[in-house]
């Protein structure tokens, strides 16, 4: 993990997000890294990552053939007047309310990066007290592997 984020930092590549977690094989962890750059830079990133001995395989995920998910936890200011409209918005976005007190509400939203951004934009006017996003994680569809 530090080797990979270090590689991005020292070679000056920009990371949009990086997530890491266990896989079906407990000896292997899988990282999903989002980068926005020219094709030639992405190719260099690919090659440089491949040089790391700990890196087993790199897959470039295409938007069409993969599913992407991101999760966000958002703590929104709550008062008598906005309570029901926030609940409604959460329902429309198929989010979950996971905690609530009389001054704030914590909402969980899962989906594409765009969907989460849209949700954030909608609830922003009510006052976002705190927010955390996981970054993108993804898998290729069906048996494309």
């Amino acid at each position: 993990m530090s080797k990979i984020s270090g590689l991005f930092a020292r070679r000056g590549y920009n990371i949009d997000s990086l997530t890491v977690g266990e896989t079906e094989d407990p000896h292997i962890s899988r990282m999903t890294i989002v980068v926005k750059d020219d094709e030639s830079i992405v190719e260099q990133i690919n090659k440089q990552l491949n040089k790391l001995i700990d890196v087993i395989k790199i897959i470039e995920l295409s938007e069409q053939r993969s599913v992407f998910r991101e999760l966000a936890l958002i703590k929104i200011s709550l008062n008598q007047s906005n309570r029901s409209v926030i609940t409604e918005t959460v329902n429309i976005f198929r989010g979950n309310i996971i905690d609530v007190d009389n001054k704030s509400i914590i909402v969980e939203v899962t989906g594409s990066n765009d969907k989460i951004t849209a949700f954030i934009e909608l609830v922003k006017p009510y006052g976002i007290k705190e927010m955390v996003r996981t970054g993108l994680t993804a898998l290729e569809r069906g048996n494309s592997k």
Binding site: S2, K3, G6, L7, R10, S40, E43, Q44, K47, Q48, N50, K51, L52, I53, D54, V55, I56, K57
Partner: protein, 536 residues
């Protein structure tokens, strides 16, 4: 078996005959086992020198160099040598002691995160947490260091792990999931490359250090001879081709020959072999906007397209790729092209500036004519390095080592020591300036302790000549470069029980060289040179 004993046994399994080292608290169990083994231990006078000597040894022998140092400052002193061998793709295995595993992260005495500190310039590194893993890790380390694109591998071993009891079994096979270097070049790509060369009118081959690492000098020569293709080389590629080859042109780069750089810019097919086309080799990439077909042969796929986009990449080991290419090559008509390149030759501009002292070019010419056909020359960093690179004639089995990528001053002496230990029968010449000498002359102690004979050639201009030149070229006043309080270097040699001569003319140099070559001990020839000389 004690883990420390296991570590030494692993080194023996890997055929290690000599380790360069500097002991300390965190490697004492290893040293106790080392003492009882038949492996030769060379105590250097600084940890950095242990790393550079391992590098010089590796380059001389083609084997993996090994160095062992203690934790904390021992390990951090080694950092420059590790970075140096990473940049120059030299195979070394560096073993560092670490504080007790339970204390890691507590900032205890002589603790340093050496794995983290060196992460960006080791090929791979290991912190051993389980003593039972020692045999596997050491075997992997030697495999990784020496195969594919060679490089440094660091093994950090906590001192308590070294004293654990283990069941020793050296693994027979290696299986690293994330490491399968591509050795064989793609057949179709090789064919495409050969076709492109056959169809070219102005082909040019550029040899890099990778040709030497791959031991592909003979194959490269076959391709050159068979095709009649003119050839240039990078600084790291010096030694891969003999100067007397009719197709040999010279050195490229920011300190290269004008006609060689111009040849690069005018070739219609450029064949890059084992070179990463670094910024010092090809400063102006716009040279390549003229549409030449670029064939790039390298074992490291990440080098292809990193600095220069190539049209025909061939990933693999230069030795077998060049062998295949040479087989299919046919003789090309390149006489007119070679004449054109040679017409671009320019005289060096030093002759006008030379007013006092000896002339470096002449000195290296004289040296080249006198030393053995299998002599090894190590050059330090600075003007001395470029003078040596241009004027030390490669012939026979001669070799040339220098710190090319990192440009580490102080490399010449410890790498010469490593080279001499690796090749005791060869004449070794270390070339340096008065600045670089003072970075590592403490290694004279190592030299005497190991009873080695090395010829030292020092160019003394009482300053940091290359920096002076950079300042002058930038139209700045010179600053911070004068070494006006230099000691009497001959007396330093005498203090170590060695001899030397200071010379102020080319004729004096000739006499001094005769004396040096017949001396039974290491000898320094200190050449006083004009401080206004430029590199080219």
């Amino acid at each position: 078996m004690r883990a420390a004993e296991g570590i030494i046994k692993c080194l023996q399994e890997e055929g290690v005959e000599v380790v360069f080292g500097y002991p300390g608290g965190a490697v004492l169990p290893i040293y106790e086992s080392l003492r009882q083994s038949g492996i030769r231990h060379v105590l250097t006078r600084h940890e950095q020198a242990a790393g550079h000597s391992a590098s010089g040894y590796a380059r001389a022998t083609g084997k993996t160099g090994v160095c062992i140092v203690t934790s904390g400052p021992g390990a951090t002193n080694l950092i420059t040598a590790i970075a140096n061998s990473y940049m120059d793709s030299t195979p070394i295995v560096a073993i560092t002691g670490q504080v007790r595993s339970g204390l890691i992260g507590k900032d205890v005495f002589q603790e340093a995160d050496i794995i983290g500190s060196t992460a960006s310039f080791t090929k791979h590194s290991y912190l051993i947490k389980d003593a039972e893993e020692i045999p596997r890790i050491i075997k992997e380390a030697f495999h990784i260091a020496s195969t594919g694109r060679p490089g440094p591998v660091l093994i950090d071993i906590p001192v308590d792990i070294q004293s654990k009891e283990i069941a020793f079994k050296y693994p027979e096979e290696i299986n690293i999931r994330g490491y399968k270097p591509n050795i064989n070049g793609h057949k179709l790509q090789i064919k495409k490359a050969v076709e492109a060369i056959k169809n070219s009118k102005k082909p040019l081959i550029c040899l890099g250090g990778g040709v030497i690492s791959a031991k592909a000098e003979r194959e490269a020569d076959e391709l050159i001879e068979k095709g009649g293709i003119p050839v240039v080389h990078t600084l790291m590629g010096k030694g891969s081709i003999k100067d007397k080859s009719p197709y040999y042109l010279g050195l490229i780069g920011s300190h290269g020959n004008y006609h060689c750089n111009r040849a690069l810019a005018n070739a219609d097919v450029l064949i890059l072999i084992g070179t990463r086309v670094g910024d010092r080799a090809i400063r102006d990439q716009s040279l390549f906007s003229h549409g030449a077909t670029i064939i790039h042969i390298d074992i490291d796929p990440a080098e292809i397209g990193k600095n220069l986009s190539s049209m025909i990449p061939v990933v693999g080991d230069a030795k077998n790729i060049l062998d295949q290419m040479a087989k299919d090559m046919e003789s090309l008509d390149t006489q007119a092209w070679i004449r054109e390149i040679n017409s671009w030759k320019r005289e060096r501009n030093n002759d006008s500036k030379h007013s006092i002292g000896v002339e470096p070019k002449a000195v290296l010419d004289i040296l080249s004519r006198k030393v053995d056909m299998n002599a090894v020359l190590t050059a330090d960093v600075g003007q001395n390095q470029i003078w040596a690179a241009h004027n030390f004639i490669i012939d026979g089995e001669r070799k040339f080592f220098t710190s090319g990528g990192l440009g580490t001053m102080g490399y010449a002496i410890p790498s010469a020591i490593g080279a001499k230990i690796g090749m005791p029968d060869r004449q070794i010449i270390a070339v340096m300036g008065d600045g670089s000498f003072q970075m590592s002359f403490s290694e004279l102690g190592t030299l005497i302790q190991e009873n080695l004979k090395i010829l030292f050639l020092m160019f003394n201009n009482r300053r940091l000549g290359m920096v002076r030149e950079l300042q002058t070229n930038a139209h700045w006043d010179t600053f911070g470069i004068e070494l006006s309080h230099n000691p009497d270097f001959i007396k330093i040699f005498e203090a170590y029980g060695l001899q030397g001569t200071r010379v102020e003319s080319n004729d004096e140099f000739k006499n001094a060289l005769d004396k040096a070559l017949t001396s039974d001990k290491s000898f320094i020839i200190e050449c006083i040179i004009d401080p206004n000389l430029s590199t080219l």
